[in-house]
Assembly symmetry: C2
Homo-oligomer: 394 residues x 2
Amino acid sequence: MQSFHPPQRTLMGPGPSDVDPRILQAMSRPTIGHLDPRFIDLMDEIKALLQLAFKTSNQLTLPVSAPGSAGMEAVFVNLLQRGDKAIVCQNGVFGGRMKENVERCGAIAVMVQDDWGKPVDLNKADTALREHPDAKLLAFVHAETSTGVCSDTRGLAALARAHDCLSVVDAVTSLGGVALEVDQWGVDAVYSGSQKCLSCVPGLSPVSFSDRAVQCIRNRTEKVQSWFLDMNLIMDYWGSGTRRSYHHTAPVNALYGLHEALVILEEEGLENAWARHLHHHKALVVGLEAMGLAMLVEEAFRLPQLNAVRVPTGVDEALIRAALLRDYSLEIGSGLGTLAGKVWRIGLMGHACNRRNVLLCLSALEDTLLAAGADIHAGRALKAAHAFYALKHP
Amino acid sequence: MQSFHPPQRTLMGPGPSDVDPRILQAMSRPTIGHLDPRFIDLMDEIKALLQLAFKTSNQLTLPVSAPGSAGMEAVFVNLLQRGDKAIVCQNGVFGGRMKENVERCGAIAVMVQDDWGKPVDLNKADTALREHPDAKLLAFVHAETSTGVCSDTRGLAALARAHDCLSVVDAVTSLGGVALEVDQWGVDAVYSGSQKCLSCVPGLSPVSFSDRAVQCIRNRTEKVQSWFLDMNLIMDYWGSGTRRSYHHTAPVNALYGLHEALVILEEEGLENAWARHLHHHKALVVGLEAMGLAMLVEEAFRLPQLNAVRVPTGVDEALIRAALLRDYSLEIGSGLGTLAGKVWRIGLMGHACNRRNVLLCLSALEDTLLAAGADIHAGRALKAAHAFYALKHP
């Protein structure tokens, strides 16, 4: 068996996204012990940088030592006990995963359904909150990775608070790519992933809990069903002060990478990063529409970092993706669940969100669709994108 | 905030251990998508390499996308249902963590206690199995990282099988460092960690389940309480064939590292790696004893890769460790639980298990102990180790 040498891809799918070479370099620095004083310093810096990224002063802000799915699970297993009730808004794949998590905690999930490709309806959420005054939390996805829809997190968190409910926000794809203000919006628990708009490698899940959420965790009458994800134990490990209780062995080098990703984000400025995502998203959409392709999501609710594009009639979407990968080493994503076969998902996340990638994607997609005999307009997409960039300086 | 530049340590604690530079380099290669055909090939190779390392043909052999503690939890949440009974042998910290996991599954843990520093007593385990014919599994730690004791995994697994019980083995510190034969010994479920004798960075947990264990998982009447660790879902993701169901986003670059670690192990040969651990362990012990220090564990049950050494009377063990880190950039471990303050734990794991490190450790420890006024023999340790190496060629 030989060493593995991956090809150099351009990652414009739903994540992982292109990783900044600075992050790859950071991860390859020598491993130190997870109880080393220098490592404790690193943990403190990561906490502070995550607080900046989430716009929060929450003390309990840290990366779970596992992918975003584990971050989601960490939130639910810590906040819910058996028999609790949770209202879950679903408008894509990840609301369904929330339901799975709620139910595996022995809790009851009250589902509020919206169409895939539409944002969560605040009226429906409000009705559910009124009908279930005993609900402990309201959970929803800020940035639905399966559809490219952004939901009104500020409004939903306010609704939850008005009904004395905790708000739980899936920010896997939103963190670093679009406005997210944990404190100002009154979000109680939020989880994200390292491999989306932070441009880090996959494997870590930043989470943050408000004081209300921490009280809820401390007041539990049953132990958290997961030892590995028990925040009562993890907060002692990541806590401030010199006495830290050993919990598990932290993924040291992955944390080097996350630290570097957050340093890069701080250097750019969070608001600048949001603006950059919006800018290149607009250029991409201008190009796609000039080609004759249609976006799945109405303009007002589109996520800049995740663009769901309708597959033209008669086109086999998988063949197009395979050709893009083979001929351009370019990865875009397929549709999930009810949208399988119907959309592509084009990511513009973090380091991958730049002019070069927008132009590459438009050019490669046009070429590949024409070769497949698709009925699109030739020769317009790049022109339109170039014209957009000429007018609008980032 | 600046980029983080860790110091170059020599890691001779209980893990993480020194990481081979080839592994750090592998991890810094470009990220590819977790559904990329080339990544699927990588997954298949990792499975095959893990089967070699575990000496098993178990189909369900893969790395859990999180540290060893999550591997432990993955085994228990998949095998146990509420109300099940598990016999847990405890002779150190990690048997206690197993109990926590069993109980958080809503199952009953029947504890078999042995002194810390002694191996699990087969007679006691046999008695417990006779007294609890309804027990579903017998769980124990192969290599107790907290004490440096090796327990008779072959004998315990055979006992479990004789009583129609599944055997669950914690091989976090044993895999790659000492004989472990999953198939030949009839082990049903085993979990390990990437950061011990595999010399990879921390963050992944190789696991393997026998066909009996897989049947048990498939026949569950309740869902696994953890979505993230549900092997019914994970086996579809890591399964063979071209149709793989998306589960979570795999930690791509960490898996590059694990793959390289396993390639290195295959190049050396598993049995050669075991022999190398034993060889340098003997040299270390010869030196430590020449210095006048005493090992915690009786010779027959010592783990080569984890050496628990008694702290001489009157010595503040934490000051010695701090001095080793400060003056030699050398990390050794402290005692845990009831052994806190009483022992050091010197690791000789994987890439860190070599002659240079043995001599560095003996030299640095002697110097530091003498400076602290400890009553040890000066000038003997290195001589003894050199003499050992001169006689015994690896």
